[in-house]
């Protein structure tokens, strides 16, 4: 059986260990992120939400998931 490799990524400033086989879309679905209400930045680059399934997360990736909150 193929051993699943783990990678470490930083998501919204917090370190997380995940399976390296996951696509960005799979990972965000696992986190139950409401994709229509957020924007995603990977290593300081904004990701087109239509291309999430084509992106594979790598070790040391830094991701930001943002949304709108109350503000002045």
């Amino acid at each position: 059986m193929k051993k699943i490799k783990k990678i470490k990524i930083k998501i919204n400033g917090k370190l997380s260990t995940i399976n390296d086989s996951l696509s960005l879309l799979e990972y965000l679905k696992k986190l139950k992120i409401p994709l229509k209400k957020v924007a995603i930045e990977l290593n300081q680059e904004i990701i087109d939400k239509n291309k999430l399934s084509k992106i594979k997360l790598k070790n040391n990736d830094k991701m930001e998931i943002v949304h709108f909150i109350g503000g002045g």
Partner: protein, 257 residues
Amino acid sequence: MKKDQLKIAKKKFDSRLIVGTGKYRSMSECAKAINLSGAKIVTVAVRRVNITDKKKPILMDYIDPKKITYLPNTAGCFNSIEALRTLRLAREIGGWKLVKLEVLGDKKNLFPDMIETLKSTEVLTKEGFEVMVYCNDDPLMAKRLENVGACAIMPLAAPIGSGLGIQNITNIKIIRSQTKLPLIIDAGLGQASDAVISMELGCDGVLANTAIAKAKKPFEMALAFKNAVIAGRQSFLAGRIEKTLYGSPSSPTKGII
């Protein structure tokens, strides 16, 4: 009577009051206050999603962006790079092009850094954003913002959240006289009469957040601001009388017994 709408970047809005969505005790309080204020535009901030606690309420569940225009704001950004990053992300969330740029220069008084603001306005405009710009009450900088493509000028009345009301009426009058762009008083208002004064100066609108959210009774204050903006606008359109030094009787002097 012709419908008197606020026009910004070719869009029309039925209210001249813009309301901030920060500092409320709860999302439901915020949503109710906005409803009472009649505002059709609300400012919102871009922040990290809470990954660990997904039960935390989301703003969009309370205020429907299809009914109320979300105006993403860069509050909390202290340089051009942060502001550009924030608004590019905001655009990605739902295609928002109409944005409010606010680049702060000092944590204590929250005055805008106008050099960074000017730089950011130029870049954002070139990227296709429609940029409403928070700025100082400085007519020269207001003109420069207009020259680089700002779609609305938003001078402060006083420091953000201070509640001091308009501190420099003369400068606001000068900015009004030099621009046809929408002029919206942003920041520092404390009570409804401040909104009346702003509108009577010929401004196109006002933005209030703390004055409503932190009033002892936010719902009543939201309503007061709604009425104040309408009253101030009507007073401006009606045209005030000339000021004179001496009295002029309101009753006819003829026929006095």
